[in-house]
Symmetry: C2
Subunit: 381 residues, 2 copies
């Protein structure tokens, strides 16, 4: 079993952000797995999505249930094999899992950031990640990899640092959010911001947490992560079992209590999330999603935006993902092909919707394994 | 111009509800258009969906902008021609637009119902509508018609009162909600119920309205009413114009303010809705949607459930409706065909999502017109 060891790196110099603001005296939490080879050519950076962290693989000492969020994908003998690669998981700025975020003190004011934490973008995260690699003495990545929002970071790496990436693995991602994606983010944000316990984002000093808003945000999120089919299969119209475990036959006729299993599931997910996720972080991360749009600086032309990329690509999408549909991955693929870039594109026929990128699917795992075996062949042992 | 005249009918006798409860001393608001013929064979009942009322067609005297919600469909010379048919619009029990609802006084307690308003189902509404027809002296409907939740009522009419319906027009509807539909309803309800101004559904006595929750509920609703395509076409990733009307070039980098046009649209719709819609009504109506499931009493077999129907059917669905997709209408069609019922089924290729059932689409309008011309031929002039 891979034992993970969380680390952190302090950065004193100010990092200029896309918004024009800057941030200084910040910390990035990260983990590494495997061994960096002598010429430092076997590093793989893993970028995380909304609700994840630097804890990508393995477990913490004495905590057998603390598996990293991509532990099925990354580890000794796994598709991204830590016996061959030096894998780095990094927690992004603004997160609530270890790196500097809204709940920390702003060194310029001596006060907790709260809602004043600067707006960070995918590009800013990539710049911060590049600084971490500098500090680790890694010039070039064998690969950068991520799913969903993590895939956006991987894609952005190829544009911001084309000379530092050999391969980009972009899973269940998109070249930008469409109007419906932004709409779901906005409803979630409104639920948080209008929760009276949000206090304009300065709830820490009031000793409260806007849990109502966080619950709603998470419930909306879960609906969009799952496919219609998998929801029908898992929950359908099944009624919630009674407290004593007996499945009821008839309706209870209630508007406020749980009646259907799907309601019970969503409430549980919402409750759990509201216990550990930071409300300001939720706003920041969904906004980073909204803002990502490399084509924007090129009159909306993705082909022109992706002309900067130099590396090889593996793009993966999932047939039932309606949040980041295969069509969005195909847009990236087409723009790369227009630029005569080398790429592998796979559309995996999987029932699980957007969540599929985190789940075990034999074809998906085999594909990533095979792709990384290819990369391993290019790297000094 | 058709001038509408709201009417109301008081019902003193108790109506037994599906939940086992009953309601007495209630009022139904309704409107009628056109003239009932001598043998009372030309009546058409229109059933409304979530956010609508008995005001189906025409305008109120001196209020030129007060068009009924299906005024494009119903009126003199329109597809449902009030020169030929006697059309009845009725507001359902539990609504907030005129019929007895949660904001009214319970005659049994002398107190405002609030959250104690009995849970009402599609079947209950149909029973209440049948009583209204009794009072109007109408035994048999030339047609019952509705879209979405209104279509569920039309379908239920054919099962509860098979001898009283000649035609059922079921538009953009479904034989029940799937897990995803219920999930969206549940998130909306949770937003309302957890709003501190909801006060367990007894907010009237506190002089407040749970507007935060209503706004969130409506924003979620609007996302599901529109198709992905129409959202991208109408809003895309366009930024909101500045207050002075100038379209901005760049991002403002804000997590709490409006940045994209789609956000502005959703907030506007949410604000507007929270000004006039009742929170308890929202819970009741979404629950009626959740509960509707005629196959439930027949081991989930829709074919057996629909065996009770005797009338002819027009079923219409819209290609981009992902809330009540064409597949759900096809389920109804197949179950009717299994029972050798006569039906017309049309899948309209329309870009507008679920909203399409309320909008002008030449093929849709022509289809309904032609179907009702057929009905007119069966009816004494």
């Amino acid at each position: 079993m891979l034992i993970a060891q969380p680390q952190s790196m302090q950065f004193d110099a100010a990092l200029s952000l896309q918004s024009g603001a800057s941030i200084r005296g910040y910390t990035l939490a990260y983990e590494t797995y495997g061994t960096l080879n002598a010429d430092k050519s076997n590093a793989v950076l893993i970028c995380h999505a909304l609700n994840a962290s630097h804890h990508v693989a393995g477990v913490y000492e004495g905590q057998p249930k603390s598996e990293g969020w991509w532990d099925n994908m990354i580890g000794p003998g796994k598709p991204v094999d830590t016996d061959k690669f030096f894998v780095i998981g990094v927690n992004n700025l603004g997160s609530c899992f270890g790196s500097t975020g809204p709940m920390h003190v702003n060194p310029d004011t001596g006060k907790v950031y709260g809602a004043d934490f600067p707006v960070v973008t995918v590009e800013d995260w990539v710049n911060a990640q590049a600084r971490l690699l500098d500090a680790l003495g890694i010039q070039t990545l064998a690969a950068v990899m991520g799913g969903s929002l993590g895939g956006m970071q991987a894609l952005s790496w190829t544009l911001q640092y084309p000379g530092r990436v050999r391969h980009a693995v972009v899973v269940a991602s998109a070249p930008n959010l469409n109007a419906e994606n932004i709409a779901f983010n906005e409803v979630a944000r409104r639920a948080i911001v209008t929760d009276p316990d949000f206090h304009g984002g300065h709830f820490y000093e009031h000793g409260v947490i806007p849990k109502r808003g966080l619950r709603i945000a998470r419930m909306i999120g879960h609906i969009t992560y799952l496919s219609d089919d998998v929801m029908n299969e898992k929950f359908g119209r099944e009624l919630r079992a009674a407290v004593d475990g007996v499945v009821r036959e008839g309706y209870r006729y209630t508007t406020q209590d749980v009646e259907f299993q799907i309601e019970s599931y969503l409430r549980y997910q919402g409750d759990k999330f509201s216990e550990y996720f930071d409300a300001n972080t939720y706003l920041l991360i969904t906004r980073a999603l909204d803002y990502f749009d490399p084509a924007r600086a090129h009159e909306g032309k993705l082909t022109r935006a992706l002309a900067a990329a130099r590396c090889k690509f593996l793009l993966v999408s999932f047939s039932t993902d309606w949040r980041f549909s295969p069509e969005r991955s195909r847009e990236i693929a087409r723009a790369l092909l227009d630029n005569r870039r080398e790429l592998t594109y796979a559309e995996i026929d999987a029932p699980h919707g957007h969540d599929a990128f985190l789940l075990d699917d034999a074809r998906y795992m085999k594909l990533v394994r095979s792709y990384f075996q290819g990369i391993a062949g290019e790297v000094t042992a």
